[in-house]
């Protein structure tokens, strides 16, 4: 699968492991916040990279002290109109100093890319069937902004 990362189209290397599914022996994986908190010790020993998925209701602060162990934080947007993840992103970047990959996943659309990028997301898994090249245009919707920038 291809995603947008750092304003380019790249091949995705990550596998999102659902709760209850076995952790594969290798490969870059994400798990839910609950699984991470339950099983941090085992997961930290995983051969390849580890990431955590945050649901809209999950607080960024739940990852306090863990961010240096994570190569990816994925924030879920089950509905693109649920804006809780925008605050989550800003808190991760600005308050908790997270510098790794911050990825929007779920119902992610071209017309939200500009806002998502501005709050600190640098990677985007688009909703099924949506054009990545079209979505790249979204970064250029505006050339000026009123609020301070939050570059990843």
């Amino acid at each position: 699968m291809q995603i947008i990362k750092d304003r380019g189209i790249v091949q995705d290397t990550w596998k999102h492991v659902e709760d209850g599914d076995p952790i594969p022996a290798q490969g870059d994986i994400t798990v839910s916040l609950a699984r991470w908190l339950d099983d941090k010790a085992t997961l930290t020993a995983h051969a390849d990279l580890i990431g955590v998925r945050l649901a809209p209701e999950d607080e960024a602060s739940a990852l306090t002290g863990d961010l240096d162990k994570l190569a990816l934080v994925a924030v879920q947007f089950p509905k693109f109109t649920d804006g809780r993840g925008y605050t989550t992103a800003r808190l991760l970047r600005e308050r908790m100093g997270y510098r790794g990959e911050l990825r929007a996943i779920g119902y992610v659309l071209r017309d939200q890319i500009f806002y998502l990028h501005r709050v600190g997301f640098n990677a985007f898994e688009l909703a099924a069937g949506k054009s990545l090249t079209d979505a790249l245009e979204g970064f250029g919707d505006f050339t000026v902004t009123y609020q301070g920038a939050n570059p990843p």
């Binding site: 809209p56 109109t81 804006g83 925008y86 806002y115 709050v119 919707d141």
Partner: protein, 552 residues
């Protein structure tokens, strides 16, 4: 008034271009309606009963005459020759075609206007006192702060998908709130603290709609430099914690009520402590840069006026106009002239293209080229010399704009209702017009004195029926339009929520019911100076109820 700097101009132009692309992608099918809906709403584009409706922002209600002429042109070219002023100081077009909207946005951008965030679950147009800048009772002109909030909230990336819409109002007249700050999600009141330092009292959780709430004080004093960080802290608490499972419970008023104001304010304070000293800290130079654009114009010396003579003169229409439609002005010899958009036989708040152009001409000649939209769906000519009042009234009257009924029963507030709106249960415009027809006798209205009548066609309360002396709410009673009557509401410093009197009235009985309410008031008021709401508060609901339901 605020003149766009290059970056402001660029933003509205880029917005028009962005929306052109979005419409294009909607039309070619790459964006489906569910994905398009929030995009068009954040550009003020609603799907109404018969057509699209476009709501154009008028920040804090202020317009220059170039803008007014452009609004007239848009009404003529893209609509049916008229437009409608709303209760939030905006203007609406009822009949645009989707494919024309990008061109309309281009036309608006050329005169420093836009439709950004006039709908959708985001921070809406910041509203204010319609007498801002000229009122005698003002501590400070609130509009520079409104403009600051406008810029901060425009495309704020974190708050584009809030649980629900979000409305902010600012008043600079601490003792005379004309901006209804207690019925906004956030109400900001300019105040001085005990040390005499300028700042803001911040109210939160007010609103009308299905569950009306009077706002509560979230913080008694926020220093001017911390205004935006404090607002951002409130927004962040709301964005994270506001309910998203039920749109009728998603406004901040529900959250504030559920948490309790102390717990809510504490959550805001905790967040605020983290961001207070961030880049959101306001520099004095930044606010001064905006403030200078709102500096008072050069007031030409005013000569002697004859307002006292006009009050007693043979032109009774003009005498009533002088009595009802003028508001005190901070500059001697000047007055603010209220222009009623509630003449008999017209939907409240509607103006035609030619009326708009006439208003622009009048404002250029007599009011330094500015007009203000009010919450009451009227307009203000803010800077008129008292000596010119008769001439202004004569000009206005040529265009059916001289109705001397400001603040009176026929100056009703009214939502579009079932004639336009797909949420409505009942018609509201025809009812307002019928009331206007029935209570036409000017001497009767004068005797009645200032009284507010507010009509909503459904419980969403766009006609603010909860805060009228008399409120009327249209409901659907088993498929038939019916109307509930509420009494005793007030939007201002003595804020109160009207109370339903009893069973709803049929459409052919509601105007009689209003008559009965007025009769009870006139029979019971302690003197001609006792306002309706004071009589109501003194005697209670019972006498009204008795008279209204005597035959039942």
């Amino acid at each position: 008034m605020y003149n766009y700097e290059p970056q402001d101009q660029r933003i509205v132009e880029e917005r028009a271009a962005q929306f052109r692309g979005q419409v294009q992608r909607r039309l070619d099918g790459s964006v489906i309606e569910n994905e398009f809906k929030p995009l068009r709403l954040q550009n003020g584009l609603y799907m109404q009963l018969h057509a699209y409706m476009l709501r154009v922002a008028i920040p804090y209600g202020l317009l220059n005459t170039k803008q007014v002429r452009r609004l007239a042109h848009i009404a003529r070219k893209y609509d049916r020759g008229y437009a409608h002023f709303t209760t939030r100081q905006n203007i609406q077009y009822n009949w645009p075609q989707l494919q024309d909207v990008p061109a309309i946005l281009d036309e608006l951008a050329e005169v420093q206007m836009h439709a950004i965030q006039t709908s959708g679950n985001c921070i809406r147009n910041t509203t204010s006192d319609h007498l801002a800048g000229v009122a005698q009772d003002e501590l400070e002109d609130p509009r520079p702060y409104c403009e600051l909030i406008r810029q901060w909230s425009t495309f704020h990336p974190e708050f584009a998908f809030l649980p629900r819409k979000f409305k902010i109002a600012v008043t600079g007249a601490p003792a005379h709130d004309r901006a209804a700050i207690r019925f906004h999600d956030i109400g900001v009141r300019i105040v001085d603290n005990a040390a005499g330092e300028r700042g803001f009292e911040v109210w939160v959780g007010g609103g009308l709609g299905r569950t009306p709430h009077i706002a509560k004080i979230c913080r008694e004093y926020v220093a001017y430099a911390d205004l935006l960080s404090y607002l951002e802290a409130i927004m962040r608490v709301y964005n994270r914690q506001g309910r998203r499972d039920n749109k009728y419970k998603a406004r901040i008023k529900i959250l504030v009520n559920a948490m309790g104001i102390e717990a809510f304010a504490a959550a805001v304070d905790a967040e605020w402590a983290e961001i207070k000293d961030s880049a959101l800290k306001l520099e004095r130079s930044e606010i001064d840069r905006i403030r200078v654009q709102f500096a008072a114009p050069e007031y030409a010396p005013a000569g002697d006026d004859n307002l006292a003579g006009l009050l007693l003169g043979s032109n009774r229409e003009l005498a009533h106009f002088v009595r009802n439609n003028l508001r005190p002005h901070k500059v001697p010899g000047y007055t603010a002239v209220m222009v009623s958009l509630k003449p008999k036989g017209r939907p409240p708040g509607d103006v035609s293209d030619t009326q708009l152009e006439a208003l622009a001409d009048i404002a250029d000649t007599f009011s330094q080229g500015e007009l203000v939209v009010t919450h009451g769906q009227n307009l203000v000519l803010p800077n008129v010399r008292k000596q010119d009042v008769a001439a202004v009234h004569a000009k206005l009257s040529e265009w059916e704009l001289g109705t001397p009924n400001i603040g009176h029963l026929t100056d009703s507030i009214c939502c579009p209702g079932l004639d336009f709106c797909n949420l409505a249960n009942a018609r509201s415009i025809p009812l307002a017009m019928e009331i206007n027809e029935r209570f036409d006798a000017i001497d009767y209205l004068e005797d009645l004195g200032p009284i507010s009548l507010k009509i909503s066609g459904c419980i969403n309360a766009c006609g603010h029926h909860h805060v009228g002396d008399i409120g009327i709410l249209g409901i659907d009673k088993l498929g038939v339009e019916a109307y509930q009557l509420l009494l005793g509401g007030s939007p201002g410093d003595d804020a109160s929520i009207g109370s339903i009197v009893g069973q709803a009235f049929d459409a052919d009985k509601i105007v009689d019911a209003v008559q009965t309410v007025l009769d009870v008031y006139l029979a019971n008021r302690s003197s001609a100076d006792e306002r309706f709401r004071d009589t109501y508060r003194r005697i209670g609901k019972a006498p009204f109820k008795k008279a209204l339901y005597a035959d039942h």
